[in-house]
Amino acid sequence: MTDSSITNDAQEPVVSTIDTAKPLTLMWWRFKRHKLALWSLYFIGFLYFVAAFAEFLAPYDPFKHSKLHAYVPPQQVHLFHEGEFVGPFVYGLERTRDPETARLSFDEDKDKVFPIKFFHRGDTYRFWGLVESDLHFFGIEGGRRDRIYLLGTDSLGRDLLSRLIYGGRITLSVGLIGVFFSFVIGISLGSIAGLIGGRVDAAIQRLAEFVRSIPTIPLWLGLAAALPIHWDPVFVYLLITVILALIGWTNLARVVRGHFMTIRNQDFVLAAQLSGAKPRKVVTKHMLPSMTSYVIAAVTLAIPEMILGETSLSFLGLGLRPPVISWGVLLQDAQNLRSIALAPWLLAPGAAIVLTILAFNFLGDGMRDAADPYQK
């Protein structure tokens, strides 16, 4: 179809010279104005970078235990030794065990100075399981026993920083897949129910009631027994998150449905339908954007749930468990009075989780504002 009458008499090019930014460009402009969101984006980018180059950035092999270094508190980085500038360094560790309480304590051995070396050769690793190397971002020069623990060590004397860096890999990937799935299902079913209404809605609502009533624990127990025990725990966990998504959609679906019922007769929705948009497009381009804020908020809220959910099933043998390293698994190590009282640094993964979800939240805020036409 050509509309000769309209285009033909436009003699001069009317568009090229003028400022008609694409919607996405507009959004990016608006997003950039939200400084915190921008920083959050950088931070998340940084996290993914760290996760990608974990082998190189982590000072040690995250699985390597050390008999003499259990529960080492985070070490302090010094610059001056006996009033003299040496650059960043740590002192050696002196280990004592209280014969009464069996508590380990570590003191700085002021005679041993270990300057921090960058691009240091240490534990060997295979980068992404492919390339073998022993280059690490930093480390200290010293005997086989001398190590640097910026975040301290766990009960088996493993470097917490290295574990945290490796743990980000799973947490920031597999953990988020479940969020994605449950949102897809929730939004789809909610949209269908809210858009079509009537019997379809009734059926979906009954399904939601049904799904919500299913007791999950026996389901997981059954699954734990049914799945071949040799399967990789990460894969099993992935499967679980998908199943979790299959039953975790109900809340979102109901919210979407409720919202759609209020807007499905609004003029702009009708206008979209009249302009020939297919139902799917009406939903995705017109109806859902009107709940952008809600969806973004719900996603940011679901992320911590998934990260923590990693481990909530572990006592059934289904969640992630050691030796898999994820933030949830690391945090589980800290979930007892013993750690809280004696080794509070084991709570560091909690801080990482909180920072990450805050970053996701502010990123969401920025995206919300960018998508909000009422903003400048």
Partner: protein, 328 residues
């Protein structure tokens, strides 16, 4: 409206039948049965029974019968006599066990739920109307702190801090010396002194969610022209906000609020477990893990009835609060 409710109740009958069957099957999905759990427990204590004895036990509990017979036995007793059966684990009628704990559960969960709402809705509204103010950030950070730390850990940390630095007596609902004391002001204070941890833990997790959702929805509504109209009518900001956009923004809340009903009855399991609260949640968890099928089945059935009632309540609320849904 009345017909709507009647219709929904009729609808719920097949749903219930399906749920009861599915529940019964799913409860038995895990390998083994109550006797296996019992053997495991004996093993842990250094005891053992022989395979023959185990078989006899199964027979005496009726676990050796076909599933369909067991189901019929169970459901017909519930439907015809209101009898939920005996808990295999406690050897007591299921209903007795539940009733015993339900009052306290309702109290704690209602308290924390209402507190969650009282905290989260106003703060959500505030955060939206004062977007990017200092307090908006403060509440955001606090909220996500509550959400990013597992309830379990948060409770432990709070309790440890209470114990180690403030010398609070923590855990449970009463101090041991008060537990059996008659009702008195002192006992009430004792309860309050214990209640803050569970309530804080339960409220922070839930409140953060509601807060962010409220804020998001409010932001969506605040730009709408009808808000201007309300101002033009001469209303003050607070009135405008609370009368108009809040009502629309509550839609997601109303959509799912009915499902708080079953949650009220089961309470928050994990928190109850760590805080040692005598609520129903841990009972269910235990029943499921021990495959105490009548206990678990009965409880889940009750919960699903409340889920169905909750959906209905939510739908009624939605229609009441939004005429566009009512007339759709």
């Amino acid at each position: 409206m009345l017909w709507f409710i009647v219709k929904r109740i009729l609808w719920s009958i097949p749903t219930m039948v399906l749920i009861s069957i599915a529940t019964f099957i799913i409860i038995q999905l895990p390998p083994g049965d109550y006797v296996t759990a019992y053997i495991a427990e004996l093993e842990e204590t250094g005891e053992s029974i022989t395979a023959v004895e185990a078989a006899e036990l199964r027979a005496s509990f009726g676990l050796d019968r076909p599933m369909i017979v067991q189901y019929w036995d169970w459901i017909s007793n519930i439907v015809f006599y209101g009898d939920f059966g005996l808990s295999l684990d406690w050897k007591l009628p299921v209903s007795d066990l539940l009733w015993d704990r339900i009052a306290l559960t309702l109290m704690i969960s209602t308290l924390s739920l209402v507190l969650t709402w009282i905290i989260a809705i106003p703060i959500g509204v505030y955060s939206a109307t004062r977007q990017y103010s200092v307090f908006d950030y403060v509440f955001t950070v606090l909220g996500f702190l509550g959400r990013g730390i597992p309830d379990f850990l948060l409770a432990l940390v709070l309790m440890w801090l209470g114990f180690a630095y403030f010398n609070f007596h923590v855990g449970g609902l009463f101090s041991p010396e008060m537990a059996d004391a008659p009702l008195s002001m002192a006992k009430f204070w004792d309860l309050l002194a214990h209640l803050w941890v569970p309530v804080v833990v339960l409220a922070t997790g839930g409140a953060a969610g509601l807060l962010r959702v409220m804020r998001a929805n409010m932001l969506e509504e605040l730009g709408k022209p009808y808000v201007e109209t309300a101002y033009a009518q001469g209303m003050g900001e607070r009135e405008v906000v609370w009368r108009y956009p809040v009502r629309v923004a509550l839609n997601p809340f109303f959509s799912t609020v009915g499902w708080a009903l079953p949650a009220l009855i089961s309470g928050d399991v994990i928190t109850a477990v760590v805080l040692n609260l005598p609520t129903t949640g841990p009972l269910l968890l235990r029943a499921l893990l021990n495959q105490d099928m009548y206990m678990a089945g009965g409880f889940i059935l009750i919960l699903s009835i409340f889920t169905i009632i909750g959906t209905l309540l939510s739908d009624i609320l939605l229609t009441l609060t939004d005429p566009r849904i009512r007339h759709a």
